[in-house]
Symmetry: C2
Subunit: 367 residues, 2 copies
């Protein structure tokens, strides 16, 4: 028995991005698959890559349940692999399990509310994997909607740092939802965290949450603040969701200056302090700029949740998930600025707002 569902579909073709509510037939769930009636799904920055990307949203044509926007170069050609493909959107969400494949565990979820990672979350109904789903018990779908991407990413940073023998982390977008989770995790796990924010209100908010090292990139003495925080914490390991511009470069420069200060002898090749930064998002689609100002003892990597989880192994992933479930209303709680249904999420007003990815202005889709 198939299920008909309304679903947000994003298509890139002939220089234009079309995003629309479309009707799709879902096959019957098989094996460990579950069919979930979706109740809530967040719009995360990682969803926007497919949902909007660098399209000209201000100049787009909006009609009920649909918008069509120009996709500028080099971004149109750069996404060649998806030209003409009809892509569903929405990494994660929560809802009620209404059917399941014949796998025993999947069957046991029928009638329960679960958080899930279908990749098609902006839909009335989704097919998801029972193994990646989290039964929510008494919690609401709104409380469980963001149980995967941000919590597992923030925990993943701490796991990554620990695996590298690090007890201190720099985070360059510390006021974000994810940044606040990371702060709470680091407080619980006694890891030093250097929080970089862009506004003094954000600095105040984090300090109110108990953050010790908060550095505002809008301040004139930002660089010396950052050096001081690195000196105090020994944070030579950082995570950056901005990607474009010079934020990772600035962190490397500050790390090197602090390390060089503590050297007994001058070296033409820079300090021998290993410095590592990870880019885990692309809030800025411009190029990443690295200046030759910190020798050769540095590493810059992309960081993505799925390969991290694959590498981490089942035991680590289960431990992380259990911790998320226990902290879903505290450490891992998310807040939303506005709720929209599938049609409302494609209006000009909504698109122009959530595509800004402003801190504290997250949208929740309630299909």
């Amino acid at each position: 028995m198939t299920t008909t569902t309304a679903q947000i579909i994003s298509t890139l073709a002939e220089g234009k991005l079309t995003v629309e509510v479309a009707q799709t037939e879902l096959p019957e769930p098989k094996g460990s698959q579950i069919l979930v009636k979706m109740e809530a799904a967040p719009i995360n920055p990682s969803d926007l890559a497919v949902l909007t990307g660098p399209a000209d949203l201000a100049g787009a044509e909006y009609s009920p349940g649909r918008f069509v926007a120009d996709m500028p170069e080099p971004f149109y050609s750069g996404q060649k692999a998806r030209h003409g493909m009809r892509l569903p959107v929405g990494n994660e969400g929560a809802g009620e399990v209404v059917a399941a494949g014949d796998d025993e565990y999947a069957q046991s979820l029928i009638g329960q509310r679960v958080a899930c990672v279908p990749g098609t979350a902006y839909s009335e109904y989704c097919i998801a994997d029972a193994m990646l789903s989290l039964p929510l018990g008494e919690l609401s779908s709104e409380q469980g909607a963001s149980a995967f991407v941000n919590p597992m990413t923030a925990l993943g940073f701490v796991e990554t740092a620990r695996a590298a023998g690090q007890n201190a982390i720099i985070h360059t977008a510390a006021a974000s939802n994810l940044g606040q989770m990371l702060l709470k995790i680091c407080q619980e796990d006694d890891i030093a965290l250097v929080n970089i924010v862009r506004k003094s209100e954000q600095a105040d908010m984090l300090r109110d949450m108990g953050a010790t090292h908060v550095v505002n990139s809008a301040d004139e003495d930002f660089f010396s603040q950052l050096c001081a925080a690195i000196e105090e914490t020994d944070a030579y390991f950082g995570f950056d969701p901005i990607g474009g511009g010079q934020m990772t470069d600035t962190c490397f420069r500050a790390m090197e200056q602090v390390a060089a200060r503590n050297m007994s002898e001058y070296s033409r090749y820079g300090s021998d302090q290993a410095k590592k930064m990870f880019i885990y998002g692309r809030l800025d689609l411009g190029p990443t700029i690295l200046t030759p100002a910190y020798g050769f003892g540095w590493t810059l990597s992309g960081w993505l949740l799925t390969p991290f989880l694959q590498q981490a192994g089942m035991e680590t992933v289960l431990r992380m998930r259990q911790r998320v479930l226990e902290g879903l209303t505290t450490t891992f709680a998310s807040s939303y600025k506005r709720k929209v249904n599938l049609e409302e999420m494609l209006t000009r007003e909504a698109v122009l707002e959530y595509s800004q990815m402003k801190t504290g202005e997250k949208y929740l889709v309630t299909p």
Copy 2:
């Protein structure tokens, strides 16, 4: 008993770089130290960082045994740690051991010709570490002068690749002295090598040496040549001495395009093929530009010989050194365009030539 020696000294102060032949007193060698009467020392790109850097060499004032050049910003301020310091120059060279500390091995070297890594190689006499020196036997100092930096770096690339489970390497300056050594090593060790060159003469030279995959960045279809070579070799691991500009970015883009072609399913996050590049030099002091065109499965690192050797451990280093010694007139042979003494190396004509770091135009200092 101290030894008086003429020595090249580089000093950065008050916006100016002064390089001169100066007289220095060397202390008596102690422990495992040896005193070497230097006969030959190459000018490597790694020496130029201290010797000339981005100073205005064309506009400099030259007098016998000395030049004074403006050091432009931001490079002057960027090298704050060395302002006012009198730095000797010259990583490596070869000569005759004339005295030694009381260490037994050091004593046994007296009267022998050795390759050594004193860091002060542009001098009549140097203090070096016997443990890092290589007895040359019947070989001349000219044959042994470049026994350390290029051979150990080229071997280090192969060791690094092997440790990461790689059987193919991209090298972005393949026609250089080091590039030719790497080609021979890869031929001996059956590792696929993608050679990127800038001129068709260089491509011809490498093909004459038996190179299979040679790609010319000056060709219009460079990018598709590079993709084809990656497809044939599975080279997702590369080394780049240029640093500035977009060469590493280009390699990452080509790797990703090849990996994406071979994917069965479209992924918004790019391929899951791990891509790794190392920057081991700064022939271009401009910023490194990374575009957001290859997902998050990439790592860019600095690579430097000394920390690599420290990490590799004594056994690996001894094995590498033995191989260098055996191949010093074949695999690891260096050639020089011109020989200069200490005064001649500071003339306008010489400085302007060797500071270009042109392929095949290496200088040898014979104090």
